[in-house]
Symmetry: C2
Subunit: 108 residues, 2 copies
Amino acid sequence: MQEKIAQRKADLFKAISHPTRIRILDLLSDGEHCVCDIFEGLNVEQANTSQHLSVMKKQGILQSRKEGLRVIYSIKNPEVIEMLELANQILKKEADEAMSTFAGVAEK
Amino acid sequence: MQEKIAQRKADLFKAISHPTRIRILDLLSDGEHCVCDIFEGLNVEQANTSQHLSVMKKQGILQSRKEGLRVIYSIKNPEVIEMLELANQILKKEADEAMSTFAGVAEK
DNA sequence: GCTTTCCATCAAAAAAAATTGATATGATGG
DNA sequence: CCATCATATCAATTTTTTTTGATGGAAAGC
C-alpha cells in the first residue's frame, strides 16, 4: 500500500477514534440531529461538540445542512455504521472470551 | 451508549489510526509475519515497529507467538480486515465523487 | 560461557490532539 | 436596526501520542 493512502485511511479512523465522537455517531446512527440536540443529549460543551463535528465532517464522515438557526448533522457514509458494528462484534467476542476464561478457572 | 463502552471502542479505533499501523495490518492481512519482515518490509525503525505492534496487541487486534529467535505476529480478529475494507470503500466513493465533480466542471 | 540475532522496553524530546473560555458570525424576530 | 439564539472559530493550555536512541533480555549457535 502506498504511504499516502495509508495516511488518508489513518485520518479516517482517527476521526472516529474518540469516545465523544463515537457517542455522536451512535446518536446519529438512527437519523439526523441538530447540534443543540447532540451536545445537550451527550452533556458535552457546545464548543467542544462543534469541534468534534467538524473533525468528522472534514474527513467525510458527516455532512450537514442549515435549517433556520440550526445546523443539522447526519452520517454521510453508511459504511461508518458498519465499522462501528464490527467494532462491537470484536468487543463482544472479547467479553465472551473473558467470560469463558473465568468459567474455566471456576472449574478447577 | 455507556461512556465506558464508547471509550473502549475509541481505544480500538485509535489502535488502528496510524499510517504505519495501517500498513502493518495490510501486510498481515494475508498471513502472519515476524517482526523483522515487518520493519524491513515497511522501512520503519525496529523500535518503532515494536511499539506499534504492542499498541495493537494491547487492544486485541494482533496476537503473537515465538518461534526460536523470532516473534510472529498475526491479526487476531478478522473483523479488523473488514473494517479496513469498509474504509477502502469510503475512500473509493470519495474519489469517484471528486472525479464526477471534476467532469461536471469540465462540461461547463 | 560468549556472541550474535531478534525483539522489547525505557526515558526524553517532539509532535499532534483535546479542552477551555472568550469571542465571532449569521440567521431570525421584534 | 437591535437583540437573541444556534453554531463556529480562535488562542492558550493541557494531555496524549509518536519518535528516537540507548539499553536490556532471551533464545540459538559456536
